[in-house]
Amino acid sequence: MPVNTTLADTSNGLLLSTVILYALAMLCYASDFAFARHRVLAGVAGAAAPAGSPELAAMPELVTAGVGRHSAPPVKRTAGASGAPSAGAAAGLAAGSAGEAPASRWPSGFWLRLGFGLTCTGVVLHLAAILTRGLSEGRVPWGNMYEFIGAFTCMAVLVLIAASVWYRAYYMGLFVLLPVVFALGIDLTVIYTPAGSLVPALQSYWIAIHVTAMIVAIGLFIFGAVVTTLYLLADRSQRRLAAGQSSWSAGIWEHLPVPAILDRLSYRSVLFGFPVWTFGVMAGAIWADHAWGRYWGWDPKETWSFITWVVYAMFLHARATAGWRGRRAGWIHLAAFGCLMFNVIGVNLWITGLHSYAGMS
């Protein structure tokens, strides 16, 4: 299938514009931290309730305080007035809606709005870049390292947007876009591969299943790893302050939710990412069976996806184990992400195997 070079050039231009927009969005998110008067935390509270976090579970007084409010003296008398039931029903409805959305889902403040708007515009261009690249080649646009990085960074930004809206994690914008911009910069300069066709081994509908699943999982894992890094730093700062020591980063954490909420957010991203990764590995095994005659052969890429899976499984187990949750689990999480990144980049660069079609030599 001949490559449509006009479309391929369009794709390159779109991706470059995407990087610029992301970089501008980063500036806005940073400005929000610097200039905005409000604490981001206030907008965060509703969705990312830190249920189960050890820190808060260990604070019965908080629970009691909360309880104290709504176990106020019970209402003594109710009566058959015609107005009463509807008032009650209205209160119930109000309670319901209040429970779902105590604060607006959307960003507040000039810089945050601008940053979020730029992020969303950027991701639209990013998707357009991927689409035009695919159209120019007449195939799924994840056949080499250049395309793969372009795709999973896009997924990471989509996860950022989803988390921003669902969990009001707007505070993550700066920290997620930072590695994304960095990766895309390298992608466009060092790793860039011109549009082209696929080698026979990749000509299968399984590429759309296996690689797509991996892209989704990696996007989620990137988000989770960034949150965990923040969690570990914030936790460290908090412990230093609690111990009466100084913490250079204390000013940053004032703009972020408490560590427990970060911990929970990163956990959620793994909860989404882990089954997707599992599915991706399984789809890869099925494809390997079609292409190479065995579903598992300890090819370096397979081995490292297995190692990644095992270390993420360790994280999930550690998080459910007394004495391991919190900081230790956070470190395991980062180790798992390290394995993932080694699998994505290191195995392609340094180890030859059946997966060596990264287009890098």
């Binding site: 189960g52 066709s197 929970r264 300890w298 007394a322």
Partner: protein, 633 residues
Amino acid sequence: MTGVSADDEVRAAEPDLARPAGQPGTGGSGTGAGGRRTGGPRTGRPLAGRLGRAGWLRWIWRQLTSMRTALILLFLLAVASVPGSVLPQEGIDPAAVTQYYQQHPSLAPVLNRLSLFNVFAAPWFAAIYLLLFTSLAGCVLPRAFRLVGSARQKPPRAPTNLARLPASATYATDLTPDAALDSAAGLLARRRFRLHRGDGWVSAEKGYLREAGNLLFHIALLALLFSVGVGGIWGYKANRLLIVGQGFANTPTDLDVFHPGRLVSPTDLQPFTINLTSFKATYVTSGPQLDEPIAYDAGMRYRAQPGGPAKFYMLTVNHPLVVDNVSIYLIGHGYAPVFKVTDGAGKVAWDGPVPFIPVQQTTLTSEGVVKVPDAQPYQLGFAGVFLPSAVDQSGQLESAFPGPLNPRVSLVAFKGNLGMNSGQPQSVYTLDTKGLKQLPITPRPLSAGQTEKLPGGAGSITYLGYQQWVSLAITYDPGQLPALISGIVALAGLILSFLIRRRRVFVRAVAGPDGGTTVSFGGLARSDAAGGFENEFAELTRLLRAEHDGRAMQARQVADGTAEVPADADDRERGEPSTRPASPPAVAAAATAITAEGDTETAAAAAAATAAATATAAAAVANPEMLTSPEEE
């Protein structure tokens, strides 16, 4: 016994708020916590002397099945896999192992003794995963029994003070306590909670599928391991290099490489035959992707049984041929130059293609050897390089393209003893030059039809042209389908366990001193991995209030004589006699209570106060700093 049970340890970390103070923990009473792994026995070593052999065994078993051990084993499994990806592996690339031996002659034997060239079949690797799976089985099976037990048991009694639960709300209604509990039980039953009704309270629990999903996942992993084992015992793997025009039968002697499973005998092989009729490779001829392959098509004629009908199949990458549950894959290809060798006696000692092995994948520069053991008076041997598209690169001949645009062969000739009768197994792709003497000919690139005369009357070699060959992988794996099913079940279990939360809610209704009823509603999620219990609780609170308010209104209307039909559609469906208007005693009681206390102004104030209280509760539910719900996975 050490006295510290699994339950204690977990409970220490996750206070089981739902357990009423007066109720002893009966082995976790079916909650998830009961069956969980411990963080690790904190009792240390058992005291020697006090423990018998059974005690020791129990202690070891408990160590093995503890979560800490599982974590360590997972870690070891990950670390143990690393050398398998860094060092060359026998099972993947034996040639690379040989090369490693040549490059590191002193280190390689040491690594070999540690099974580091065969990591995934190494005893220590097996030890790790077998221990891990034993640990897993030891954890999962008791939990499975407990889950079955807990599915039979009722949810625990409601705690006395529901306000102490992570999520709670209180409001007033003018139903009687019993009527309020009846309708609450009905609401929760409709939402498929399991109920336990007591005096003045209702307990409800939901989400048992979470633990079931978790168990399913782990059991499916065990099944996956067994499936892999089945494939290793009853399956086989083979390789066959096949030149166009040639054929083979699926018997051990006719296969190049044959790795049978432990219980496979030669007669078990499916008796098909395959002939390669054509092979075509297509490459990119211009642009940045020059030399890259586009397609490989291997036409083959096969018979499932000898004498059976011959069928044709175009074998391509990603589309294996399946015969009799055996899959045949196209995994490689190359060139086989055709030679005719005439020996010193003037007899044709070799006439046919010789497969050369690509040493350079992008341009398919290939190397190979021609062994002519029948040549007289000396045996002859040739080592050659095949260039599919030879071009002169500043005096050096190279292949510029993988397709056969300008095929050339250059040869080095030897005479002497090939060493093929020494009893030592020999590779057909290398020449053992120990007993050979190189003949002084200047290598030159032969094109098809050209002949090289050998000095000293040793004979001649003619390059006639080329054939292509493919390498086929032949696999039979009866564990494949079970492995696939296990994988799908594992994934389903994983998703179930991540999506579903196990939660309990409790309702208590108490009659106030002046006729009203105070309903307190509380709940907690035992496992709320994906979050969202707060919202569910708020929604339940809203529904419960609406239900109670609705019923109270009906009751009033009945009392006032204005009621015609029940307002609540759910109520009609359910047809619960005790609270329907048609059921006189309850309604009469409620109506009496209301009329006795009837006072419009107070009622309005009360309703407002109730609304405020609910709003506070909802806000509290939504605010993470005010509430927590213990969670465990």
